[in-house]
C-alpha cells in the first residue's frame, strides 16, 4: 500500500483557503471561491459555499466545510478536483476522509470519485458517490471511503465530496492512495461489452 503525495490534507486546504481571505459561510453574501486546486461543481453549486472551519475539525487546525446556503435546493453542490489518470492506470485507488454531517430530512452527502475514459463527451468508466451508503442526519466524525479500479484506458480521475438538497458537512484528512486488491472496490468498473447482457434478469455476477 502506497500513499501518494496527493494527500489533500486539511493543512494545505486550510492554507489555500486562508490565502483567499475567505469569510465564514454565514457572513458571505455569495459563495466564496473554492480553495486552490478545487472547483465547485453540481447542478446547484450556486447555492453552496465551501469554507475552512477552525472550530469543527477532526484533526489538525481546520476542516473543509461544504454547506448549503438555503434550507433546501432542487439539486446538489460539490467540491471537486480533476487529475490526470496516467500515474494511476492499472491501480486500485481509494479516496477516504473523516466526515461529519448535519443533514436534514431528505438531505444526504458523500465522498465521490469518477474515472473517465477517452472521448469528447462523458465516458464514465467507474463512478461512486456513496449514493447507496449515504451520509444522512446528524452524524459524528466517521471515516468514509470510495474505492475504484482505474483501467488502462482511463484519461482522468475526478473526485471530491457532495451534498444533495441541503445541509452541511465537514471533511477532514482526505487521502487519495493506492490500495491492494484485498481491499474491495465500492463500485465496479464498466466493462466494454459488445452485446447487451442479462436481458432476462436471471443472470448472476461473474
Amino acid at each position: 500500500m502506497k500513499t501518494y503525495e496527493r494527500r489533500a490534507s486539511v493543512r494545505w486546504l486550510a492554507m489555500a483557503m486562508t490565502s483567499l481571505g475567505v469569510a465564514t459561510a454565514a457572513a458571505a453574501p455569495l459563495p466564496p471561491e473554492p480553495p486552490a486546486g478545487w472547483t465547485m461543481a453540481g447542478d446547484r453549486n450556486d447555492a453552496f459555499a465551501v469554507v475552512v472551519d477552525r472550530d469543527v475539525r477532526h484533526e489538525g487546525p481546520a476542516s473543509a466545510h461544504l454547506a448549503c446556503q438555503k434550507d433546501e435546493v432542487d439539486g446538489f453542490g460539490a467540491l471537486m478536483q480533476t487529475i490526470d489518470a496516467k500515474r494511476y492506470r492499472g491501480k486500485r485507488m481509494r479516496l477516504s476522509a473523516w466526515v461529519k454531517g448535519a443533514l436534514g430530512n431528505g438531505h444526504w452527502a458523500g465522498l465521490w470519485m469518477r474515472v473517465d475514459g477517452p472521448g469528447s463527451s462523458r465516458n464514465t468508466l467507474a463512478f461512486d458517490n456513496m449514493m447507496d451508503r449515504r451520509i444522512q442526519g446528524e452524524s459524528d466524525w466517521a471515516r468514509h471511503e470510495v474505492v475504484l479500479d482505474v483501467p488502462e484506458e482511463a484519461i482522468r480521475i475526478a473526485f471530491g465530496m457532495l451534498v444533495v438538497r441541503g445541509g452541511e458537512i465537514w471533511v477532514d484528512e482526505l487521502a487519495f492512495e493506492e490500495v491492494g486488491h484485498d481491499v474491495p472496490t465500492t463500485k465496479p468498473t464498466k466493462q466494454h461489452r459488445h452485446e447487451p447482457t442479462n436481458l432476462d434478469f436471471e443472470g448472476g455476477q461473474p
Binding site: 461543481a41 453540481g42 447542478d43 432542487d74 446538489f76 460539490a78 471537486m80 431528505g106 444526504w108 465521490w112 469518477r114 472521448g119 469528447s120 463527451s121 462523458r122 465516458n123 464514465t124 463512478f127 461512486d128 458517490n129 449514493m131 447507496d132 451508503r133 475526478a158 471530491g160 457532495l162 444533495v164 463500485k187 465496479p188 466494454h192 461489452r193 459488445h194 452485446e195 447487451p196 447482457t197 442479462n198 436481458l199 432476462d200 434478469f201 436471471e202 443472470g203 448472476g204 455476477q205 461473474p206
Partner: protein, 222 residues
C-alpha cells in the same frame, strides 16, 4: 400529464455531470437469498442473482436516480425466476429515474435494430417507458423513450418495442426502462435483434432531423 420535450432532452444527457446522476447500484435491502440461477449451478464462480439487488449488468441512472430503486423481483415476473423492477422511493421525485445499460455499437452498425420486451406498470402517476438510444461521437443521435405512447396508471404485462437505425459511425447503444414520477414499473424478457427495413422505426427524431414527423396534441387534451 407532463410529457414535455424537456424530458427527452434530459434523457439524452442521461450520462450526467459529476455527482449523483450517473450513479450505479441502488441500496440493497437485505432481501433473503433466492435459489441459485441455472448459471450458478454450472459455473461456481458466478454469484447468483438475489431478489432485491440491482440486476447484474444494469445501472440506476437519471436526473433523480437517488429517488428511485431498481432491483430484481422474484414475485412479479413475466417469465423465468426474475423480472426487474423500477420504482420511486419518494412521494414526489424531482425528475426521472432509469435502469439502463450501454454496449458498443460495432456489431450493429448499419443495421436496423429492435428492442422488445414485456412491461407492467402499477400506480404510475405521470409516465414511464422502455427506451433505446444510439450515440455517435459520444452524443445521442436517435432515441425513442415511448414518450408518445407512455405507460400510465396500471398496465398489465404487455409487449412493447423500440426500433432504431444504427448509423455506420455509431459508437454505443443504450437502453432501459424509465419512470418519471411516483409508481412502479417492471420489465422482463427483453430481446434485441436486427430487423429488416420493412419494420418502421419508432424514433422520436434525430440530431439531423430533430423535428417530429407529425403534429401532436392539436386538441390540447393531452
Amino acid at each position: 400529464m407532463k410529457r414535455s420535450m424537456t424530458l427527452l432532452s434530459l434523457l439524452l444527457v442521461a450520462c450526467a455531470p459529476e455527482g449523483k446522476h450517473d450513479a450505479e447500484d441502488p441500496p440493497a435491502d437485505g432481501a433473503p437469498l433466492e435459489a441459485p440461477a441455472v448459471e450458478a449451478e454450472t459455473d461456481p464462480s458466478v454469484v447468483p442473482p438475489k431478489a432485491g439487488e440491482l440486476p447484474h449488468g444494469w445501472q440506476l441512472a437519471g436526473m433523480a436516480a437517488d429517488e428511485y430503486e431498481a432491483t430484481t423481483d422474484a414475485d412479479v415476473v413475466h417469465q423465468g425466476r426474475f423480472s426487474a423492477r423500477l420504482r420511486a422511493t419518494v412521494d414526489k421525485p424531482r425528475a426521472f429515474g432509469t435502469m439502463s445499460q450501454f454496449f458498443e455499437a460495432d456489431r450493429y452498425r448499419g443495421s436496423r435494430i429492435r428492442l422488445r420486451g414485456f412491461v407492467k406498470a402499477e400506480g404510475v402517476a405521470n409516465w414511464a417507458g422502455m427506451w433505446m438510444r444510439v450515440d455517435e461521437g459520444g452524443e445521442p443521435v436517435v432515441l425513442d423513450n415511448m414518450q408518445r405512447r407512455p405507460l400510465t396508471g396500471d398496465v398489465e404485462w404487455k409487449e412493447v418495442s423500440i426500433v432504431l437505425d444504427v448509423a455506420k459511425q455509431a459508437d454505443q447503444i443504450g437502453f432501459g426502462i424509465l419512470l418519471d414520477g411516483p409508481g412502479t414499473v417492471w420489465i422482463d424478457g427483453l430481446v434485441l435483434e436486427k430487423v429488416d427495413l420493412t419494420v418502421p422505426t419508432t424514433s422520436l427524431g434525430s440530431k439531423e432531423h430533430p423535428l417530429p414527423e407529425e403534429p401532436a396534441n392539436l386538441t390540447f387534451v393531452e
